[in-house]
């Protein structure tokens, strides 16, 4: 977001180099939309901001990240700086006898013999295909950063208990959060007897999502929990956990519902199975993804009001309006960051609770 706003302030500079589509001036609605979409996506560079120098050159401030690809000829690695911040396939990198181009934050491997990427009329590459991309992208950096912060914070808390009964410092803030997850989320949904086993997963997921949501609101501009791959992974883990921990009663009720006419039982079994295996995880992953993406989209759109409303209201009014609205939405987003982490963990423990529940009698 800092990148985004810095670019907007930089748009006052009249000189513009037109060899790149992203960066430089953004004035029309469609440019704003493309810009936002670009910044919702994962990125192979860690860009902090960019500006146009007095010589009319685009300068990018940030650092490159390693690109790791599994291609038709095996593993290929290089630094993302080799793409020179190009995102529309015009810069072709040659490595290990293969050619690569980056189009809309995806790395494509060019087909044999092709020297440049050719596009069809819907701007799809015709002579290149996607590779398996295990790069340390900006999102992976975010995940690692969040993991590191969580690990440092909570291992410190764990260490403090060895010497004192009540932790001090930052750990004093973390302790009630752990208690909150345990007493308000895990215990009521899973039950006193069985919650203990699932605490590592629930606590990790809760703090992971919350911290990444918050990191997404910082000017570092992470959008990790708005990456569908990340939410799919989280939801899939939840599903695996409640499917593998399903009690006998759970499977009996799911597959052969008692107290229902025999003809209906297979139908119900299919519905229940689809519910547990597809619908519930899907609702989890889409809720998180959509909320965070929408939040980022709204904040960036409100910042963009500065440009889109400049003609109608003048620069001062449009900037003021954008500032007030964006600030307001930011505050809400901070709440949403917690709320989504809470909801994800809550629903996960609810589903786990459903699966491990044992009925006294039928």
């Amino acid at each position: 977001m800092a990148f985004f706003s810095a670019t907007i302030f930089a748009s006052g500079i009249e000189k513009k180099v037109d060899n790149q589509k992203d960066g430089g001036q953004i004035n029309t609605n469609s440019e704003v939309k493309a810009y936002i979409e670009h910044h919702l996506k994962d990125s192979h560079d860690f860009a902090l901001f960019s500006y146009t120098s007095d010589q009319g050159e685009r300068k990018h401030v940030g650092f490159p990240l390693p690109v790791i690809l599994w291609t038709s000829k095996g593993l290929v690695t290089f630094m993302s700086s080799e793409f020179h911040h190009n995102d529309d396939g015009h810069v072709v990198v040659e490595k290990g006898g293969l050619k690569f181009a980056k189009i809309h934050s995806k790395i494509y491997e060019l087909d044999n013999g092709a020297a440049t990427v050719s596009f069809d009329e819907t701007h799809h590459a015709t002579n290149a295909h996607k590779t398996l991309d295990f790069s340390i992208t900006k999102s992976v950096v975010g995940i690692l950063l969040a993991g590191l912060l969580i690990f440092l914070g909570f291992s410190k808390l764990a260490k403090q208990y060895k010497t004192r009964k009540i932790p001090k410092g930052i750990s004093r803030v973390l302790e009630p959060l752990v208690l909150y997850v345990r007493d308000e989320i895990a215990k009521p949904n899973i039950g006193e007897k069985k919650y203990r086993k699932f605490m590592p997963f629930l606590l990790t997921v809760f703090f992971f999502i919350w911290l990444l949501n918050l990191l997404g609101l910082t000017p570092l501009g992470f959008n990790v929990t708005g990456q569908i791959a990340v939410t799919v992974c989280l939801a899939l883990l939840t599903m695996i956990i409640y499917i593998t921990n399903g009690s006998k009663d759970f499977w009996a009720h799911t597959l052969w519902m008692p107290g229902v006419p025999y003809i209906l039982r297979p139908v119900l079994a299919v519905i229940e199975l689809v519910g547990f295996i597809i619908i519930k995880p899907f609702s989890l992953l889409v809720r998180l993804f959509a909320n965070i993406t929408a939040g980022h989209f709204v904040v960036m759109s409100l910042i963009a009001l500065m440009i889109t409303m400049k003609e109608a209201f003048g620069p001062v009014a449009s900037t003021g309006m954008s500032l007030v609205l964006a600030l307001f939405i930011m505050v809400i987003e901070i709440l949403v960051a917690f709320l989504q982490a809470f909801i994800f963990t809550m629903l996960s423990s609810l589903f786990i609770g459903m699966a491990v529940e044992e009925h006294e009698h039928h």
Partner: protein
């Protein structure tokens, strides 16, 4: 939906999966387990302490009740003892009084008896002295009577003057 699928990056999914699983395992071992254990330990500790305090309070109450009971018993015993002592002293005094009375009456009786005896003895002695005197007088009278009647009378008078009734 198509853009969603297009946005899905298998590589990122894979990285996230590996990092998350490692994170869960590491945190589980180094953070969550010790934290939850310590929290539980602390909670049971607090619960035990509260229970102990409650027990102590109850014990204190019991002790108080015991103390009160003991105090009451002691008081009752003291009362009983005092009563007994008073009875004994009363009896002692009464006995002593009786004894004294007895002794004095006996003493008085004895005294009276000895007085009576002395009196008898004195009377007897007086009687004897009177008799002897009478006899003496009579003898002297008889001796002088024969010479002179006037001398006789003087003699009697002189003798009588000498003998004072003592």
């Amino acid at each position: 939906m198509e853009t969603l699928l297009n946005d899905f990056s298998p590589g990122l999914f894979f990285m996230q999966l590996i990092i998350l699983i490692i994170l869960i395992v590491l945190l589980g071992k180094f953070a969550w387990k010790p934290i939850l254990n310590s929290l539980e330990e602390r909670e049971t500790g607090i619960e035990d302490a509260l229970q102990a305090a409650e027990n102590a309070r109850k014990e204190m109450q019991n002790l108080n009740a015991d103390n009160e009971r003991l105090l009451k018993e002691a008081r009752a015993e003291r009362d009983a003892m005092m009563k007994e002592a008073r009875e004994i002293s009363d009896k002692l005094i009464a006995d002593a009084k009786e004894d004294a009375k007895e002794v004095t009456t006996k003493l008085i009786e004895n005294a009276q008896a000895s007085i009576q005896q002395e009196k008898q003895a004195a009377l007897a002695e007086i009687k004897k002295s009177v008799a002897e005197l009478s006899i003496g007088i009579a003898e002297s009278v008889i001796k002088k009577e024969l010479s002179n009647k006037k001398d006789q009378l003087d003699l009697v008078e002189g003798i009588l003057k000498d003998v004072t009734l003592n």
